[in-house]
Assembly symmetry: C2
């Protein structure tokens, strides 16, 4: 009783290529032919390894979010809410214009509106975007506890705000905005957070 013929492609490498296709064309815009072509395999291999087009997307989303976790941890480790926001938005401006990836964010480009047959794809993407917002909210709540954010500040509202700016930057990037344009947006956006930060009088210390 043998173990069978071994597959001759690397699952992670293939998934990486699939992610790029979804990123560039969206879930519905990406065809199986494009995917298998980019992955360097044939349709049966794709279905044996991932199950379906939608399951392949979810695997790609998992890979995408997992890759950003290390960076997110670094961002959230900044000492103040202002610094968290600054690192976040400046990092986003950089990452979303990284020429080694398609522009924008997979969680947005993947598909905001889909046909009736793929109605749950937008929900899947929205749920993953919401995770980032929640991480920011927790961080801002901590900042408020630590006295870093003003007593009147609303951590949930601030997190929603930063999340919205990130999404807006993502759409801008996907439609051709360059790094400088995104950085300008980030710089302005940060001011709204500074406004709610407790200013430590540096000279007085």
């Amino acid at each position: 009783m043998g173990i069978g013929r071994p597959r001759n492609f690397d699952r992670d490498t293939a998934l990486e290529q699939a992610m790029e296709v979804f990123w560039r064309h969206g879930y519905e815009g990406a065809t199986i032919a494009q995917l298998t072509d980019a992955m360097g395999i044939n349709p049966p291999s794709l279905y044996a390894a991932f199950g379906s087009k939608e399951a392949l997307l979810k695997a790609a989303l998992d890979r995408y979010t997992a890759r950003r976790e290390a960076w997110m941890a670094e961002v959230l480790g900044a000492p103040t809410a202002r610094e968290v926001t600054a690192r976040m938005l400046m990092g986003v401006a950089e990452k979303q214009t990284d020429p080694s990836n398609p522009p924008g964010c997979l969680l947005v480009q993947g598909g905001l509106a889909c046909g009736s047959g793929s109605a749950n794809v937008p929900f899947e993407l929205a749920a993953r975007r919401a995770q980032t917002e929640e991480q920011l909210r927790h961080r801002f709540e901590r900042a408020k506890d630590e006295g870093d954010l003003a007593e009147t500040a609303d951590p949930a509202a601030l997190a929603r705000y930063v999340s919205a700016v990130i999404t807006g930057m993502s759409v801008m990037a996907s439609s051709g905005a360059d790094r400088e344009a995104l950085t300008q947006v980030a710089v302005v956006a940060i001011k709204a957070i500074e406004d709610q930060s407790v200013r430590v009088p540096v000279a007085a210390n």
Copy 2:
């Protein structure tokens, strides 16, 4: 020589329904069957009246932007940059959660990433979004001339920022955010503009 059988549907009414379908499902997600069903006509009538699916989308986009022109004029008529931004963002929060329309903005929901056969649709949408940004930039340039914005303010950057926030709010709305959540975002976002506004000492006048 007769004039022919009269069409028995109203072009504008049908276009209105088509716009809703594109808004809800995106360009690629909307099928001709869904469109003709919503419009209450048959495919040959659609093609005779609009030419093609893509031409129908463009007609819907024209209708969409034309409808917003009156509102935009009112927004841009506000006396200060801060007030323009406030009216803009608060209005967006309201409009994008108007239950009589699909949530979000057609210029975003229409399709950020498309398949290779519809590659110019995202460009078409981006160009129309850019129009709003340009209107804001002109208004902010005027505000700077009028001394309403600080000398150090960058009208183009501010316009890009407001445009990005609008887009971010649109995506949030499309994924279920309610009016209150969007309003919170707007309130925070406005602070970044206030920061660059020249404060008129009210009590001193």
